[in-house]
Each structure stands twice: as C-alpha cells, then as structure tokens.
Symmetry: C2
Subunit: 339 residues, 2 copies
Amino acid sequence: MTAEGVARRATIREVAEAAGVSRSTASRALTGHGYVAPPVRDRVRAVAHDLGYVPDATARHLRRQASQSIGVLLSDLNNPFYAGLAAGISAQARKRQYTMMLADDGGSAGVEAEAAETFVALRVAGVIVTPVSAELGAYLGRQRIPVVEVDRQFSAGVCDAVLVDNGSAAQRVTQQLIGIGHRRIALVIDEMHWTTGRDRLAGYRAAFAAAGVPLDESLVVTAGWDVEAARVGIRALLTRPDPPTAVFAANNVLAEAAFRTAAELGRSIPGELSLVSFDDVPWMSMVTPGVTAVRQDTVALGEAAVSQLIDRIQAPLAPVRTVLLSASVVSRGSTAPPA
Amino acid sequence: MTAEGVARRATIREVAEAAGVSRSTASRALTGHGYVAPPVRDRVRAVAHDLGYVPDATARHLRRQASQSIGVLLSDLNNPFYAGLAAGISAQARKRQYTMMLADDGGSAGVEAEAAETFVALRVAGVIVTPVSAELGAYLGRQRIPVVEVDRQFSAGVCDAVLVDNGSAAQRVTQQLIGIGHRRIALVIDEMHWTTGRDRLAGYRAAFAAAGVPLDESLVVTAGWDVEAARVGIRALLTRPDPPTAVFAANNVLAEAAFRTAAELGRSIPGELSLVSFDDVPWMSMVTPGVTAVRQDTVALGEAAVSQLIDRIQAPLAPVRTVLLSASVVSRGSTAPPA
DNA sequence: CGCCGGTGTGGGATCGATCCCATGTGGAGG
DNA sequence: CCTCCACATGGGATCGATCCCACACCGGCG
C-alpha cells in the first residue's frame, strides 16, 4: 500500500521508464515469466512498489483472454441458505485467487437471463448458479463459459453440478418420524419440478415404502414460494378433520411458515405436532423446542462448487460431473411420538 | 439470447464485416453515439443479434477508462445484517446498471487490504465497505477511487458514509427500559472504538442522563467478537450478586449469546430479565417471547450507499457527505417491568 | 460555377499489459 | 579466430472497443 498522492495511476510504462528498462522487461520482472537479470528484477519491483503500481486487471485480461473472475448467481441473499453459500463460495474463491461477481436474481428467470448476459460481457472465467431454469446453462454453454449448478440441477449432462443428497437425507429424516410411531406425516414442499423438490419427495416416499407404511397422498402439499400462500396452505392442512401428526417442511421458509402457523393455532410442538425441516437455519436452534432439521453444509457446498468450476476451467473437455454431498440430521426437541 | 454454436465469440469486427460496414460504423450503430443512417443501424443491430454478439466489457472499460462495476466489501455474509445489506446493494446496483464485485473480509484488516488491492486492480468505479480500519479509505482515496463507508465510519471527512442513527435509537430503546422501571440495565457491547459501539454507548448514557438516573459503570460490558467469549462475559454478568434486571445487547450476535445464556441459567424472559437488541434478525420474531429490537432497514441502507456512491462517481469533487438513516424500535415480549 | 455545411462513413490511434520474435552480448569450444 | 549457444533485453503487434479526425457526397445558395 505505498504511493504518494499521484494524480494518475501508474502504468507499467511509467514503472519501466522510472527503472530505466523497457515495458517488456518490466513485465517480465513483475510477472516472473521469462528471463530477467536478478538485480534488474529487484530494481523494477522496488520502483513499482514505490510508485504504488497495481497492474490493470482488465488490460491483462484483454490481452491474455483469460479472466480471474467468476460470476455467481443466487436466488435470495436474505435467505440464510443462499447467504451461507455465498460466504462459502467467496472464501474459497479468494483462496484460489479468483474474484467474485455476485448477482441475486430473486428467483426470476428474467433477471437470471439478464445476469447471464452481464457475465458474458465481463468474460468471466466461469459461473456458479442456483438455477431457476435450464436457459442459463444452455446459453452459457453456447458461449463456451463453464457453469456449475449448485443446490438444484436443471442441465444434467450439460453442466457440472454440486448437489446435496436430498433423497437420502429426506428418507432418513422421514424414517425417524415413522420410527417413533408417526403414520400421518405431511410433506410441505415448494414445488416438484426442481430436483430439490423431486428428490426430497422421492426420499419421503422411499421411507414409507421401506417401512411398509401406506402413504396418504393428500398429505403432500405444494405450497409454492410465497410465504403467505404457504401459511394458508399449512393452516388448511392442520385444520383438516384428520390432521397430520407430523410435518416435514421441505425448506427453511416453509418450516418457518409451519412453525408460525402451529403457534397461531395453539398446537404445541412436539406434543400435538412434530416438525422437521430440510435445511437448518439459525432460528431453529434458538426457539424452544429446537427444530429437528437436515443440515446442509453451505460452506462445503460453496467450496465444492468453486473447486469443480476451476477444474472445469482447466479441463474444458473433461466429462461432465455431478458431485453429491451428504447432509446430516440434527435432532432437536421438535419431534416426539404421536399422542 | 440468440447464437448458433460458434467456436469463438463474435467481436465487433466480425459484426462489422458481416454487415458490410467498418468497425467505426458498427460501434456507432450499436452504442447509439454519433451519426449512422437508420437503415444501416438496423442492419448492424440485426447482424449483431444473429451472431449473438455481446460487447466485451473489459475492452470497453479499458478504452473508456471508466467501469460499470463497484466493489463491495463486507464483514460476514453469514450474519443476516450483512447479508441483507448485500441484498440491498445488489438490487440497487442492478437498477443502476452496475455490477457488483463482492468480497467478505471476515472482520480481518489483512483481508481488507488485500481486497482493496484487488479492487484497484479491477479499476472498479467505486467501493462500498463496512470498514474495519481507516486504511481502506485512505488507500483508495490516494488511488482516486470513491469510497462509501456503510454502517460504521472510520474515515470521517475523507469518505462519504451512510450510517444508522445509532445514538438516537439506542437512547430510545434504553429510555423504554428506564420508563418501565428498570434501573440496573446492562449494556453488552462489542467494543467501543468503532462508531457503532461508541454511538450506541453514548445513546445509552444519554438516556440515563435525560432520566436523571445514576449509571453503574460496571454494567457496561465489553464482550468482543468471539461468541464464546461473549457468553462467558454475559454469564459472569448475570451471576453477579447484584445482577442487572435488563440487558441491552448492542448487536445481534451478542443478543443471541445473551438469549442462550439466560436460557442456560434458567432466567425467564421477561419475568426475571428483560432483553433488548440493537439489530433485528429473523430468530428474534420466532422465539417466545419475541425479542424487542432496534430494526435497521438494511435494504434502505444498501440503496442509500449505492446512490451515494454513484453521486460521488459523477461528482468527485463535491463536498463529503454523511447520511444518517433512522432506525425504529420493534417492541416484542422480551421486556417487562422488573420484579 | 464554386463554396459551404450537413450528413454519413472509414482509417488509425489509443487504452495497459503481454509475449513473440529479433537483436545483442559474452564466454566457451572447435 | 570464428561459431554457437545461453543469457538478457527491447521493439512492435495484439487483445476488442471507442472515438477523433479526415474525407466523401450531396443539395442549396450566393
């Protein structure tokens, strides 16, 4: 951080002149590529430091046709799941000497498309995305920009992906509920076309099948993304004549809606209703009783995504890979045998 | 999003050739600057669209010496306060046609300095930061890169800042506690050199002074940043022979530590202990009783920061400004008159 | 008839860093 | 003594887009 209050920023040409060498030599001295006599190298570096020279990444990028930035496109930074993912990606990107362009699409396909074009304009080295459609993968694929899908997968076989083993985790947590005696277990789910929803549903079904317990299909409720709509759906579910004895919420937003609705209806947890969540967020360990949840390690997810992306950048033609991370069930007090 | 699977990305030269004009004309047609005959303009644009041409932002930036990216440096994306801020900044930046380079310094001055250099290398148009030292403002100032400090201020008079009116909000919430009869109100604070800590402390003191209530200085506890250390400090506070009847936690992390510690010690809230927090985060409305908190509008904070930064970019020599946003107190069940 | 100004287009330099290639030097070996 | 190679440096083109300037064309007016 050295530099006197120069009017304009120093360029490599100025460094070269101040050190009495050519631009070429200065470049070699600073980057370490090619021959430079050690004393010259040291002199150039000292001069650069004194001038507060910081190489222009855009110029370097233009010449080398290779950037050190990755684009990251997430659905909602206000949701702790995505925020954690961003933190994990950010940390790992920094370790690997990449910078991160972040955009938040709020779950909108239009914004997603717009962000994709921005990433192309910036010529990012690659993109990490929690996709909302298959468009982005296809578009960036055509532009020869590597893409890694995280959390959800829309472009299987086309893009790499880093996912959580939704099926297995959902099955385990459902199995726990069945194991302690629940038979009427509702699944409250966002929607079933995305891999997250589909696989969590499949795991839920598999647990019933494995236990030989019949499944009441009417207990699978699609609650969408709108929190208010979810609360309405859950209220209807809980006030049925034959209500479920347990609710499995397929994401943290739905778990919040379920928790709040249960409180409004005066249903005690776990006495009258057991609750489990897919995705563990801070409030679940703050409330009493704590909410049993499937914990996805967002940091590991982010790190794996960055690693996968960098591998892909270095080997564009390697076969497409899908990485599955396991998730663990954190048991807290929100589950108990049915009354 | 049109483009056949071309091997290489189209450049403006290729667009120009395909349209039968020169690069200059193509540039004018696409950017809208300068004379172009309307039919030519339309033809060039059609060709560009067919080729899936996306202008190279780095080349444009290099030539124009002006970028459309801003750098954003925050302390901790896993903290909902910073995540919300990032969301607000992201949304506003997108509206204003800027892209956002995001970094997370984890509260470390070393990482902050490193990120600052990266932002210089990328020649960002400006930087928004929740600072951890005065270094960044000074360094980027020397590099003639506009900086806006958010939430905390280290470079008063040098950089613009967008802050919350910490003093007033802290005074109001303290006053509420005094008003319902509390006299022994502890302030648990991170540290007192940053403006956030200093001003919240000042507000707390001002409330006592205004009410003419003497203040027991031993009730002001510096708990630092480490959650475990905070819990130890709070436990010591609550197990004193003359414990406080209310705790004012100066940020959401400390509020969490206080909430958990009270539960561990079996102190009922608000029966035996009232709790208020500076900074409202989701769990505070999920727990029972809810926690009374000062709500900072992170979206407004982020939007104001972006607006301020863009104003500064457009008028580098305008006088330095500090914008104060007010905060509101959200009353929930965690406060009651002392026993 | 020639000059002027408005309209429209193209050539070439430029931003900053990189890197291929040519050039230069000195010492060693034939 | 000359050649050859390792070492060391500089010149100039290049990445893609922009933009200043020169130029060409045309109609109108003195």
